[in-house]
Each structure stands twice: as C-alpha cells, then as structure tokens.
Assembly symmetry: C2
Homo-oligomer: 132 residues x 2
DNA sequence: GCGCAGTTGAGAATGATTGTCAAAATCAGC
DNA sequence: GCTGATTTTGACAATCATTCTCAACTGCGC
C-alpha cells in the first residue's frame, strides 16, 4: 500500500517550486531551511518514487551528481541546462530520437536507450560572464 | 615536466587492450591481476591525464560510474555501448552536433557542450537474451 | 481506539573518487 | 655511471553522494 505523508508531499512541492534541476542534497537543505525536519534518506526515497512514477525526471550532471526536476510533460524529452544557474529548457528532440533508434539498429543493437542532454550558459549568464 | 613511468604506460596499454569502456576500478584490478602492483590512485591519475591529453575518452555509465576508453580518432564523436558486454561502437553524429548547437543558440545559450550516448544490447547479447 | 504494514530518520555502511605525504623513481647534467 | 632536484607513486585517510539498517512512528482500515 502507498501512504500519503507530508514528507512525500513536501518533496514533490519543493521539486515543483524549484526552477531548474536540483540535486537531492540541495533539495534536502532547502527543505530543512524551510523548517521541515525531513531526513536525507527520505528525500532520496521520495525522489526515486517520483521518478519511478514518471512524475519527476532525473539526469546526471557533468560533475556526476544526480539532478532531479518535476516533469511537466509526461512524455519523453530532453534538456538544455545552464551550467551556471541551473535554468532548464525542455527540448523536443524527435530528430535525435529517430537518429538514436536508427543508428542503434544499423549496428545490430536492440533496446536502445539514450542519454542526450545539452549543457551551456543561458543568455543571462553568458552576458554576466562577458562583462567580467 | 612530464615523466614516463611504466605505470602510466601500463594504464595506457591496458586501456588500449580493453575492448569496450572500462571503469577505473576494473582497470585497476585487471592490472593487479596481470602482475602489476600499481596503486588505485595512480590509475585514476593516469586516466585523468590521458583524458586531459585527448588520448582517452570518458563517460558516465547509467549506474554512475566513470568509464574510460582509448580514443581511436582524435576528433569528437559519440558512442553506442552494449549495456551487457560493454562492446562499444564509435558513431559519427554530425546531425546531432549541429542539432545541439542550433537548439542551444535558439534558446540563447552559449558554449554548448553535450552528452549524447546510446546504450543498448548488441546483436550477440540480444540473441543470447532472446534464447533464455 | 487498535493493530499493523508501510514509512521515517539518524547514523552506519558503501563505493567511487580525490587528497596527503613520505618514500621511491626519473631525468638532466656532469 | 652518479648526483641531486623534482616528479610520481602508493598506502591510507578523507570526502561525497547515495543506500542500507532498524527501531520508532504513523496513516489507514476496522
């Protein structure tokens, strides 16, 4: 059975409120700072429940941390992430989907899964970086 | 100054010999098993030197480990990796390159970097899996 | 209110990776 | 070949994200 606890709700809420991708760690401190004495293990559990249920999205940052984000569209999509401020843009990538599938098939591979993410500096951060 | 030690050579050698992507850990045990009393820290150092120097390629597996492989072509390329046996095929991805660049630009992002890797089951492993 | 199975949380455990630092190995010059 | 300065090594500790453990707790159906 699946229970509804304020902890799970709090994690979902914090994830939706967060703007870009956030790490489990920072989500945890955000929650603690917001006055919720929630445990780190619980945050991890809630996050993996959410991702399993398709309500959240996860990816590995370039530094190797796992990052999470509330999933706006249920479907499959990819991300364009600002590596400075974490701003995230969801991108449609039909072209990449079909490319991945066909290149896999061409080499005899089956059950293709792909990791496709683009990191860069968003407009604002690019400007800020240029000014220095 | 950069010195040539047998340890560094051994790591390069082991990396070239390995067929697909290998983790630093397994590279280390392979070397120890092969009779080289090399230290784990040294393997990590050698690997990051190699990747910095463009002689090796690294990526994160789906399980979060860092995997390394000797880079055959100096240029930029992506990989199609068998998630069962580690067999790796280097793939040309000009289409993806330009897609990544243009989608980044379209959203005001600069300095795009992208992670594009396809995992699947190679022909042999697909067959083996089907037989069970 | 009761009982109990799912859930929590503090801390320990894990596992990959990086830092530390004394000892050993390498290279350049003699 | 020998010397000395300097880099590199390697055993071990430290770190960091994540997962596990397990006793205490709690939501939910009765």
């Amino acid at each position: 059975m699946k229970r509804n606890t304020w902890q799970r709700e709090a994690v979902r809420e914090a994830l939706v409120t967060a703007d870009g991708f956030v790490s489990a760690q920072s989500l945890h401190s955000t929650l603690r700072d917001g006055g919720s004495p929630i445990g780190l293990a619980t945050v991890y559990r809630a996050l993996s429940d959410l991702t399993d249920g398709g309500e959240a999205d996860s990816l590995q940052s370039m530094e190797g941390e796992a990052l999470y984000r509330a999933c706006t569209s249920g479907g499959h999509h990819h991300h364009l992430i600002c590596r400075n401020c974490g701003l995230t843009v969801e991108i449609e990538a039909d072209a990449v989907e079909t490319w991945a599938t066909s290149v896999a098939a061409a080499n005899g591979f089956t059950q293709p899964q792909h990791i496709v993410d683009v990191f860069g500096l968003c407009a604002a951060c690019s400007r800020a970086a240029a000014e220095q």
